[in-house]
Structure formats: structure tokens, C-alpha cells
Symmetry: C2
């Protein structure tokens, strides 16, 4: 099912990991101390260099990941856009969260209020466990790296074993860009191998980690991070089924559109997206079922090869677990490199949620038929933590409000008549959700708000102007957005 030709890169030795982490620790203070304009320039320099080398990077990515050229070109564009958006985020300065309380002898707490000035600073060295399914956007120079560098933190990337040569190539470009901007040596590092990742994660100098990948792998690393003598925040984006709930009205009035959209959503990137819909609830006997069958019979949905053997094996195992469940049957597809539609009833899922609410990372989904609105709502309220929940309905739908309420309880992103697979990088984006979608439901791993994962606040009490950082001075020399005595000001 996969014919990737991944050259191997030797695992980073224990001594080398130590040197890399120590260099990151040494870089932490000088990198954090650089002007915001310098930080922004470095992010842009990385983006520029990636763009300049696109013609070399994309073929390398194609060879290692089996992903198609247009998809990779789009992903690289998204990645460099993301780096530039973080550059702008740094310059905007809102992420510094500046709050100033001037001294107030009449503060009604019962004691005078001293002068207090608060801002966010970088946490320190961050380990970023790269994902295999987005070799650019969630890898070496992806969102976590961009956010950590923007926050003023050095980054050590643990390369995905799925694209080691591409990781090396991107890492070299990041190094060159940072050197060009005279960033401190050690601001960026790259390690290969599982043991190297664990060693970096548990090194005393590391202060936070980010991860995108499987629930089992992510949980194991979360446990290591939490059990350190000094525990550190572990921002893991793990598994999600991304349920889709289609109301009876929508299933009737838009059967062809929904069927076509669903097939695209489960087969794009061979279904290897953390937002691929893995469960679609439809009313019993809905025309969507017929449309789907017709679509698949007229032209089987090609999916392309899976990323690598490990992904293919994991997908096969997950499919097997769901497919062999006594209440599940194959509806269509499932041939080599072809999307698979499984079917069951809402009652079956509700009676065995542990077995059937199970991520299949690849081009497969479980169509779940419900008998009535009550069953639909019961299912919607039972899906557990998710990255996304989508509702397809009509504006006049009676159940729309209740479905959206259930979606908000479960997920970080709630969609209306939209498929969850497109994930825009924006100011308002939220890519996260209750466990097991993530290990840190108050955070996002995509969008400008993701920078806050790598920051901590410090307040200066009664510190004289000349000893304050520029960001906190009364005359606001950096023109930062800030709140003064509880009110927004600039």
C-alpha cells in the first residue's frame, strides 16, 4: 500500500542530543532578548529561504511521503505564510499581554496597590515532535517551530521518521536563515530517533514540548513530561474522530452535495489528516447512502498511497478493529488505494463506544444511521473530546441548536455545513479540544493564538523605569497594545 523510498538518517547520539539541548539552553536568554523586529525578521528569513528552495524541497517531500505535488506545493505555501503571519504577530505585540497597574494608595482591597507591570516572556527551550502527515506545515519549520521562535524560545525539533531527508534539508535552511539574522547559535536544533526525542524531552533544560501524532505515542510522551522531577507543559495534539452530524432535512435536500463532499473529505491526502471525518451520522435510509454508493460505483475514489509503512500498518489495524465488529458492515470501497465506507447504527455505536469511536487514520469512515432525532442527539452527546465536530443542517432545523451545543461541549472547532479537513491559519483559529483531541484543552496548535503555549507572565513590582524592559515603560516606546489599570490603551 506504500512504496515510499525513505533514506535513513542515523539516530542522533546521546552526546549529540546533550550538546544540542545545551546549545538551546545557552541561546534562550540572548534569543529572548532580541528586539521584536529581529525576531520577526528571522521568521521571514526562514520563510523566504523555504520559498527559494521550493523546487528542491517538493520533490524530496514527494519521494519521502507519497503525497502529490499540488498538495505539497500548497502545504509549503501555507507553511511560509504561517511563518510570516507569526512575524506579524511578533510585531503586533499583543502576545506580550502587557498589563500595567499604577500605584494606587486608595485601592479598595484594603491595602495600597504597588506599581505592577506584567508581560509574557518565553518559557525557554522547546522540543517540537514533528508530525509525519504534514511534512512542511507540522514539521521542522511548521507551526510549533514558528510559534516557539516567535515567543522567544529556542526550538529543538525531533524529526519525523517519515521524512528524514526532507527534515535535514529544511533544518539546514532554518539554520542558514537564523545565521543570516545573527540569531544565537543553538536557537534551532534537529534530532532524529525515538530515544533522542525522549532524551530531549526529559532533559532538565527543556521547558515545554509540542507534539502532533497518535494518541498512544502522544500519551506516552505526555506521561514522561509530567513525571519529570520538574514537570513541563506538554502540548499534544493526539487523536480525533471528527464526527459529522447530518440532520434529516439536510440529508434529504442536499444528498448529492453531501455525498460528494464526504468522499472528498475522507480521501484527500489519503485520509491522513487529523481532521478527517471518521464518523458520519445520517438518518436511516437517507438518500445520501444511495448517492454515495452510486458515486463510488461510477468511479472508485482513488486515495493515493499512504505515507509510510507505519501509518499503513496502523490504519490496517484500526480498520480491522471497526470492520470486524459484529454490528459493522462494509458499505463500499476498501480496495487497494481506495476509500472505505463502513456502516453501522447509532444504537450499535452507543452500545459499544470504546470499540467504535476509534480513529482510523487513513481513507475510511464509519457511516452511522440514526432512527430519530433523539438518537442523533444522544450520539452527538456521546462522542467525547474532539478536534472538530461538524453539523450539516438547514437554518430552519429544529435540532440545529441542540447539535451545536453538543458540538461545543465536545470540540475545539464547530462547523456548520463545512467539512473539517480544511484548516485555515488565522487569528481566530482553534485547533485543539478536550482530551484525547489534545492534552491541553485551553490551547491551540494552529493560528496566532498558539504562541501563548510557549510564554509565561512575569510581573515587575515597583521597579524603576530605567530597570524595566522597554515593553513595560510608561511612555510605551514600542507602541504596544496594553491595558492600564484594567482598561485597554496603546
Amino acid at each position: 500500500m506504500t512504496g515510499s523510498t525513505v533514506e535513513s538518517v542515523p539516530d542522533t547520539t546521546s552526546d549529540a542530543v546533550n550538546l544540542i539541548v545545551e546549545a538551546a539552553a545557552a541561546a534562550a536568554k540572548p534569543w529572548a532578548a532580541r528586539d521584536l523586529t529581529d525576531r520577526a525578521m528571522a521568521l521571514r528569513a526562514i520563510a523566504d529561504r523555504l520559498d527559494a528552495y521550493a523546487a528542491e524541497l517538493i520533490p524530496l517531500a514527494m519521494r519521502e511521503t507519497q503525497l502529490a505535488e499540488p498538495r505539497l506545493a500548497g502545504e509549503l505555501r501555507r507553511t511560509t505564510f504561517q511563518l510570516r503571519l507569526f512575524a506579524q504577530t511578533v510585531l503586533d505585540g499583543d502576545f506580550l499581554g502587557v498589563r500595567i497597574d499604577t500605584a494606587d494608595s486608595e485601592w479598595p482591597m484594603g491595602a495600597p496597590r504597588p506599581d505592577l507591570r506584567r508581560m509574557n516572556i518565553g518559557l525557554g527551550p522547546v522540543v517540537n515532535f514533528a508530525a509525519s502527515n504534514f511534512p512542511f506545515a507540522f514539521s521542522v519549520a511548521g507551526g510549533d517551530t514558528a510559534a516557539a521562535l516567535a515567543a522567544g524560545c529556542p526550538v529543538i525539533v525531533k524529526a519525523s521518521p517519515g521524512h528524514p531527508m526532507l527534515s535535514q534539508a529544511v533544518g539546514r535552511l532554518v539554520d542558514e536563515a537564523l545565521a543570516e539574522c545573527v540569531a544565537p547559535s543553538g536557537t534551532f536544533g534537529l534530532v532524529h530517533g525515538r530515544d533522542a526525542g525522549v532524551q530531549a524531552l526529559t532533559h532538565p533544560a527543556v521547558t515545554a514540548a509540542a507534539f502532533t501524532g497518535s494518541t498512544a505515542g502522544g500519551r506516552a510522551l505526555f506521561d514522561l513530561a509530567s513525571r519529570r522531577p520538574v514537570p513541563i507543559p506538554f502540548y499534544g495534539e493526539l487523536g480525533s474522530i471528527n464526527p459529522v452530524f447530518v440532520t434529516a432535512q439536510a440529508a434529504t435536500s442536499r444528498a448529492a452535495e453531501i455525498a460528494a463532499g464526504l468522499l472528498t473529505a475522507i480521501s484527500a491526502s489519503a485520509g491522513q489528516l487529523c481532521t478527517k471525518p471518521g464518523l458520519v451520522a445520517l438518518p436511516e435510509g437517507a438518500p445520501v447512502f444511495d448517492e454515495l454508493t452510486a458515486l463510488i460505483h461510477t468511479s472508485p475514489v482513488p486515495t493515493g498511497e499512504l505515507l509510510n509503512e507505519a501509518i499503513a500498518d496502523g490504519f490496517a489495524r484500526a480498520v480491522e478493529q471497526v470492520r470486524t465488529h459484529p454490528g459493522v458492515r462494509v458499505l463500499a470501497g476498501g480496495g487497494t488505494d481506495e476509500a472505505l465506507l463502513l456502516g453501522t447504527t447509532a444504537r450499535t455505536v452507543l452500545s459499544d463506544p470504546d470499540a467504535l469511536l476509534h480513529e482510523m487514520f487513513g481513507p475510511a469512515t464509519l457511516l452511522v444511521s440514526y432512527r430519530d432525532t433523539d438518537e442523533l442527539l444522544e450520539l452527538a452527546r456521546s462522542v467525547g473530546g474532539q478536534l472538530t465536530v461538524s453539523v450539516f443542517g438547514e437554518d430552519t432545523d429544529d435540532t440545529a441548536r441542540a447539535l451545536i451545543a453538543a458540538a461545543v461541549d465536545a470540540a475545539g472547532r464547530v462547523l456548520w455545513n463545512n467539512w473539517p479537513t480544511g484548516l485555515s491559519v488565522t487569528y481566530a483559529q482553534q485547533h485543539g479540544g478536550p482530551y484525547p483531541a489534545t492534552t491541553a484543552p485551553s490551547t491551540t496548535s494552529v493560528g496566532t493564538a498558539s504562541i501563548s503555549r510557549f510564554l509565561r507572565p512575569v510581573v515587575y513590582q515597583s521597579v524603576p523605569e530605567e530597570l524595566l524592559p522597554l515593553a513595560l515603560r510608561t511612555d510605551n516606546p514600542l507602541s504596544l497594545p496594553r491595558s492600564v489599570n484594567g482598561a485597554r490603551a496603546r
Copy 2:
């Protein structure tokens, strides 16, 4: 050393804990759905009721905690102020973090941007482990309870064993105030006993926990929270030594002032403050030493009794560990209910930091003499995670900048010529810091920003106006502060 008369309250039974947590779970959605004005009104109703019953609560607190009437009256005032400040925070609406990205077909990421609208919602039921040393401000109706209720979360307080009757009395008033405001039953609950606290923390319906107390106790609970099948954020405020660094210039020019301030800081509330300075670095042979000795000899510093036997035992053990170290000697004090000054050298501390950088929760401190600026800076860079670091210096001090930089690395609050024991409740306050000061260095447990611990963001994608919450509608009917397409707006 302690003569507290604590009547016992039976531990909450396992069945009762389950009922309380289930009631909190049932209250979560209706409480979160209440208008912001309702939430604010409920917080004010709690404050009003506490104020109205001050004449009953304060004597009860005196009996259970040994704290003096003026201290408790001030603490109650601080507590009701805090509740009202959170009411204002709710009405201000900034905590909702509203971000709106309108649909943009030209979004330069390479794909059209859908309409995305993000806001924070309450995480769900929160367990608040009350502290013993602030029977009002960090207990049943204290900061964590106020912040969680303000965030829209039901709260289950695990009462401190140090003041169970007061906890019952305050709990009753909170219940009455919430009932008066028609808050859903279960919005507030109170449990007693260690097992009850653990049971609540590990109950599947609980979504977050807050804790103020010892490093050992807090770490044990953090581990339980992290090892749950569904891990939850655990916001623990644990131990801190709150080092104070006095420059040679300041130690010479302000010896009397610094000596008097230090004695007040270590003896106030019998030293049972998480911000009590436990290490004070002074230049060898500084006049401050003579001033201190003179002050103590002319009038021994009375401290009052400790809160309870458990605190007294813990203090005795911690003092013993430091006092019996071969490099440490008793400088003054240490009689019954009297402040204790221990002394050692910076070299000794640097050579055995694990033994000597050790919190003594009570009226004691370790005076550390340093030989020169290099030694002072080395010590300042070695203290580990702290809630506070204070620097006493002159504006013209050469070392001021380096000391403040070291303080920022170590602590959440950095003070200049201020003692850390006063902790103002404000918009900019930061009470937190790197481990072991807290288990979550990106958060604060005091000040209005503490509300963010109990929130998670949700983004609505392409959801029609009539299905959006009021907070996200285009016409901004709640007049919330928000950012639109990356720019601040209202």
C-alpha cells in the same frame, strides 16, 4: 506552639462526594449558559453575604487558625473585594477572548478563509483544594473559587482540615447567595477529608483543579491529575523560598530600614505566607546583621502561634534540616513564638543547594552572606523556580540589572526595594512561577488573569448568526472587547 481548637467535621463519604460531583456536572451547562450579568450578580451576592456575616465569621476563624482579628478582618475585606473584582472582570468580557475572522477569499495562505469566530468557554467542574494559611482569601470563597465561578465553572471545594467549621459556615453562605441568585443547584459543593479530595480530583466529570499548599502534597495531587485516563490541568501553587538579594550599596545605606522590614516580613502571620522571604543574601559583615541583632535583642519579635499542629510539625522539621546543616548557625531568636534567624555563607548554599534551598513555612529565614558581586550573582542564578524574587538596591547599582535578569528567570514576580509578603489583587498581578513554585508556570492564581485557568477556546466555523452565541454576533450585542481580522475593535 499551637493551641488551636478545631472541632472536627466528619469526612465526606464516598457516596456524598459522588452526588456532589454529579450535581456539579449537571450544573455545568446551565451555569455556563447564564448571562454575564447573572454571573457577576452571583459573585457580588457571595461577597455581600460574607461581609454581612463578618461578625460571626471572624471569631470562628480566630478560634480555628490562631490568626489575629485585624489580620482576619483585612483578609475578609480582601476576599470580598476579590469576588467583586471578578464580578467586574465578568462584565468587562475581555476574558472571553473574542476573535472574529470574517470570510476572506483572498486570504494569502493559498485557500479561502472561512468565517471563524472564537471565544472562551468554561472548562467544566473544578476542584479547589483550599489552603490553611488564608482561611478566607485562599479557601472556600477565595480566589480560585471566585475565578472558576467567574469563568462559568461549577466549583467543588475540598476544605482545609485547618478550619473545617469556618469552611462549613462560608460554604453555607455561598450556597445561600447562589440560591438567592437562582444559580443551578450543584454550582457549588464542599467536601471534607483527604480521600474525598482525591475522589473528586479523579472523578471523570471533573475538568480541572486548583491547589495551594505544600510541594509534597501538591505534587502528589498533580501526579494523580496527570495519570487519570483523561488527564486534567492541575494548577498547583506549591513551595517557594522567595529569595531577597540585597546589594552592598543598599545594605550599607539602608541597614536599619532593611533590618526592620525583614523582621516584619518573616514574622507577619507567623511567617506562614507562601511569599515569606526564606533566604536573604547580604554582603559579608553588612551593618544589616548588626541592626538585626540589635533589633531582636531590644525587643524579641513575637510571631503568634502557628495555624495548627500539622503546620507546626512541618515547620519544626524544615527548620531542623536547615539548622543542623554543618555550615549553618543560629544568629538570633527561635524561642517559643519568636522569629528565627539562621546564618550561612553563599558558598555553603551553592555547595549544597538541595539541603539549604528548602522552604521553612513559618517565622524563620536564612541569612546568607556573600563575599563579592560575583558570588551574589552566582547565588541569584541558582535559586530555581520561585513565586517571587526581591532585589534591594540603589538606582545607581551596577549589579541591579543583572540581579533583575536573574530574578526574571526564576520567578513570576520580581520586586525592587519591596518585601514580597504583600500580594495585591489587581489586573496585572502574577502569582506563579516556574516549578516548584507552581505546576503551571504560564498561569497565575491571584489577580484577574487567574480566570483563564478555567477556560478553553472554541471556534465556530461558518455558523449562521442566529445559531451563534450573542458574544460572537456581528453586531456585538454585548458590547464585548474583541479583535476582528487581527485588529482590536469593540
